[in-house]
């Protein structure tokens, strides 16, 4: 007979026929996973999810090759009441010098590094004296420097009493996350050791951000796994009112988590800020499906004393639904493979992989665990009590079957209304959304945005007309023109380029000297202004990392338009982290939204194929669209934007939410095949599946609450959205799906 689970549940029945053999196989899998877990890798890079073959990414990489990797810079913010005094500035200079000498640091830049050249000779002169004598003298010099170079404000804020030191890391460590994180930690240690007590240091930049995310990822894995299991066991205990039941239900999720880590490690794929949630999600899925199976077994065992036969019957009845729910969830994960990003493809395959592992844990490991518990007399006939939520199905039945047409109509209206609103939700990326909560890195990033206008760099590479470098009037003219265009848009005080120095030189001798110095300088010394081959110059603007991607796009488009008016405007390369993120994240999020709808279509299609019923497929559309559109409508009301993790959360939530429909349809399908008419079959299905669905939803929601303890903001957000989706999906699938089936059946009969 055709069953909705494609007969994958037979694996569980096979395991019960040969319990020793299958137990040994499971043990081998456990030991293999445990062995591989030691080699688990983590990746804290915020760029790890970006497609590395896109045009924007190539521009970014090209500029790195020409100049240096600006995204590796570590920004140190120094706060002190003493910064406006001679002694405070002396300590700041000493800190600058010590930071310069930290391991892995190529150079450090602070207000003291501002290059001031003699306008006649082009020789470098030092603006600040060796000895800082009086507070008044120092402030006078500082004011003078700011008047000469307004950009200095981004390195020293008199009003906020904040100074900035930017440390560039050695080229040798720039392309290696591990080495650059080590260099950052060494730099941080050095700075904290030498800084006076009344100086408060904050660190930011993509390297500290990456290191901070990495630390959170590692601590999250332990926290989320352990607390996820504890939450699940507690709630299972409350539902089944049995300690042994709670322990047995904890076996599939514990094994799934272990196997998931083993899978990551075996494939050599590092856990990043997106995939970090996969082991926890797999654990939760295994809990939910395990509870359905155990629920059925305990319900049967409370009436029938043959525990072994009850176990077989439970697998036969719940197994197909578990199989199909695993398939739909795996399909939801696989939909991420539609995105261009290699990291999201990894996420897709790993996600599908852990879902399969969760299914194996439920359909093979749990029955075996129950089997051995029966053999060891840990569970006894007659000592099982009916689980909670027995009245939930009856309550839902009275609503759904009383006014099916009205409920179906309400469902259609809500889906249309929410569906229209969700179209207005736009993609968003803000770096701060990915920074660990309450971390000093977040504080540093926010302080940088507030005080110095941000540390994210918009970079413009101006190709020179000829080989003369800064000595060539044509080259200088190009730099001046681009500097002017950029200054008009952003304000002169936010623009950095060699033109700011060149315009002050009064003689050819001075310009020759500058060109000579530039040609002799090491790459690390000149890379802020001129390319290593001397054929192009750099103009940079600092932007706030809080700037929405839509605004970055507007800003960039306007800049491109203005530069396009120059004869060589199209050759000016515009890139930088904010642009990369605005282009790539917008594209990625939109691709993921397509993935989401792909997952919905495939999920419902699977349901149709599994049941071989177009009617059920049609009936499942509104109950499964409603939770997603409801959450998107909520996001629209909240501000109208959606970020990467929110789309991922919705897709995963859909994959879990459709499980409710599968379980209900599974029982309905069985009852229909026994000859019961639609209303009767639905009534039984709701009464039978309702309590398990309620228990499953509560277990998943409570277990998902564990995400709230993560220090990475994307993980709790993922939890919020999954919980919201599942709650709407529970009512949607139990009430609206049943109402739809009944309504459509009526229509079909009329025809």
């Amino acid at each position: 007979m055709w069953r909705i689970g494609f007969s994958f549940e037979k694996l569980g029945l096979a395991a019960l026929r040969r319990p020793v053999l299958y137990s040994l196989i499971l043990l081998a899998l456990i030991f293999t996973s445990a062995f591989h877990v030691r080699n688990l890798k983590f990746d804290g890079s915020i760029l790890s999810v970006l497609p590395d073959r896109s045009a924007a990414f190539k521009d970014y990489e090209q500029l790195k090759d020409k100049y240096r990797n600006f995204s590796r810079d570590v920004t140190i913010l120094v706060e002190s009441e003493r910064l406006l005094t001679a002694s405070g500035l002396e300590d700041l200079r000493n800190l600058h010098l010590d930071v310069s000498l930290a391991d892995g640091v190529a150079k450090a830049v602070s207000v003291f590094s501002t290059p001031v050249f003699d306008p006649q000779t082009g020789e470098l002169v030092d603006w600040f004296p060796e000895e800082f004598t009086s507070d008044a003298d120092m402030m006078e010099r500082m004011d003078g420097l700011i008047a000469k170079f307004p950009q200095v404000k981004s390195l020293f804020s008199k009003e906020q009493k904040v100074a900035v030191i930017v440390a560039s890391l050695d080229i040798s460590v720039q392309e290696d996350d591990k080495k650059s994180f080590l260099a950052y930690r060494s730099l941080r240690k050095t700075a904290e050791e030498v800084t006076p007590e009344d100086f408060k240091l904050s660190f930011t930049g993509l390297t500290p951000v990456g290191a901070s995310i990495l630390e959170s990822l590692i601590s999250d894995q332990t926290k989320l796994t352990i607390f996820g299991l504890i939450f699940g066991i507690t709630i299972a205990f409350a539902i089944f009112r049995s300690f042994m039941a709670a322990i047995l239900c904890a076996i599939p999720p514990a094994l799934t988590a272990l196997w998931a880590f083993g899978l990551f490690s075996f494939l050599g794929i590092p856990i990043n800020y997106l995939t970090t949630v996969l082991p926890t999600l797999a654990l939760i899925l295994a809990f939910a499906d395990g509870v359905f199976l155990y629920f059925r077994w305990q319900t049967l065992s409370s009436a029938e004393p043959d525990l072994d036969n009850n176990l077989i019957q439970s697998i036969i009845k719940v197994g197909p639904a578990s199989s199909l729910t695993s398939l739909t969830t795996a399909v939801a994960f696989l939909s991420f493979a539609y995105a261009e990003s290699e990291a999201l493809k990894d996420f897709a395959y790993l996600g599908a992989g852990v879902v399969v592992l969760a299914f194996l844990a439920v359909i093979v490991a749990l029955p075996l665990a129950i089997h051995w518990a029966i053999r060891l007399k840990l569970v006894h006939p007659g000592n099982t009590r009916p689980p909670m939520f027995q009245g939930f199905g009856r309550w839902a039945r009275t609503i759904a079957l009383a006014r099916p047409m009205i409920i179906s109509a309400i469902g259609i209206v809500l889906v249309i209304v929410f569906g229209i609103a969700q179209n207005w939700v736009t993609a968003e990326y803000k770096l701060v959304q990915y920074l660990p909560n309450k971390s000093d890195i977040r504080y540093g990033e926010e302080l940088a945005n507030k005080v110095i206008g941000g540390r994210a760099l918009l970079l413009m590479s101006v190709p020179f007309e000829n080989d003369g470098g800064f000595e060539s009037p044509e080259n200088r003219s190009r730099l001046e023109q681009v500097d002017k265009v950029v200054s008009e848009q952003f304000g002169a005080e936010r623009v950095f380029s060699a033109w700011r120095v060149l315009q002050m030189l009064e003689t050819d001798q001075a310009r020759e000297r500058i060109t000579e110095l530039a040609s002799q300088a090491d790459d690390s010394d000149k890379s802020d202004f001129i390319s290593s081959d001397g054929k192009s110059a750099l103009v940079t603007v600092r932007l706030s990392s809080e700037m929405p991607v839509a605004e970055v796009k507007l800003v960039t488009d306007k800049l491109k338009e203005s530069l396009g008016k120059l004869a060589y405007g199209k050759d000016v390369q515009i890139t930088g982290f904010p642009i990369l993120m605005s282009v790539e994240f917008t594209k990625l999020i939109n691709q993921l939204r397509t993935s989401l709808f792909l997952a919905i279509v495939l999920g419902i299609l699977f349901l149709g194929i599994a049941t071989r019923s177009p009617l059920i497929m049609l009936a499942a559309i509104t109950p499964n669209l409603l939770p997603i559109f409801f959450v998107l409508f909520f996001l629209f009301m909240r501000g109208g934007t959606i970020n990467l993790s929110e789309v991922v959360a919705l897709t995963v939530a859909f994959g879990i939410a459709i499980d409710n429909a599968v379980h209900l349809i599974n029982v309905y399908d069985i009852e229909r095949k026994t000859g019961k008419e639609t209303r009767h079959a639905l009534s039984i299905a709701m009464e039978e599946a309702g309590p398990a669905l309620a228990a499953g939803t509560i277990i998943i929601c409570v277990s998902v609450l564990v995400t709230q303890i993560s220090s990475l903001p994307v993980v709790p957000t993922l939890g919020h959205l999954i919980i919201s989706t599942l709650i709407v999906a529970l009512f949607g699938n139990l009430i609206m799906l049943s109402a739809n089936i009944l309504t459509l059946t009526k229509f079909t009969r009329r025809k």
Binding site: R93, N94, H96, L97, D98, S100, L101, K107, A108, S110, F112, S113, P115, E123, L124, V125, D126, F128, P129, E130, L182, R185, S186, L517, Q520, A521, D522, D525
Partner: protein, 180 residues
């Protein structure tokens, strides 16, 4: 900027440069070189830009090879406008001490270096030619051991005053290396 900076590096590295032919101090010079072994860091001043001295910081590591009687020095010095590496080596052979930079700046050739050791101080006099500018630069360094580390003083010969004038000083303290 970088070129000027490397002049400073050259000067700083001179602390460990030498062709010290004094027969009387051979043993003592070798002992002295050995006493300079270790990791040191400190701050000081030097003429980095123009004719005014500026604050600098240095971090060096020196290893004395007993068999070769050589002190090898590596490290970095930084000012507020940049930093450079120091690579130096001084060898004591019998009654003589000699040495050279591993990576002297392009266009600067050391023509003569000699010195004397008295008490706990070593004085080195170095002459070099700036090939680009075509001028002779004469530098004197006075290196002494302190309770906490090393004191290095620098002087440059001024044709105007016909005397060595102070151009910098670095006070280096022994540092404890910590493993990451």
């Amino acid at each position: 900027m970088n070129r000027i900076y490397k002049v400073f590096v050259l000067i700083a590295g001179m602390s460990f440069l030498g062709y010290v032919p004094s027969q009387a101090m051979a043993q003592t010079a070798s002992d002295f070189l050995k006493s300079l072994e270790g990791d040191f860091a400190g701050r000081g001043n030097a003429i980095v830009v123009g004719d005014k001295s500026q604050r600098i910081a240095c971090k060096i590591s020196s290893v004395f090879d007993i068999e070769a009687g050589a002190l090898n020095v590596t490290g970095e010095c930084a000012g507020t406008k940049g930093k450079s590496k120091i690579n130096g080596g001084v060898t004591a052979v019998d009654d003589q001490v000699k040495g050279s930079f591993l990576s002297p700046r392009k266009g600067m050739t050391v023509t003569q270096s000699y010195g004397a050791y008295e008490g706990d101080r070593m004085q080195l006099l170095t002459s070099m030619v700036d090939e680009n500018a075509g001028r002779l630069v004469k530098i004197k360094q006075v290196i002494s051991k302190t309770e906490e580390g090393i004191n290095a003083q620098f002087f440059t010969f001024s044709n105007a005053s016909n005397a060595y004038e102070p151009t910098g000083e670095i006070i280096l303290k022994a540092s404890v290396k910590t493993d990451e």
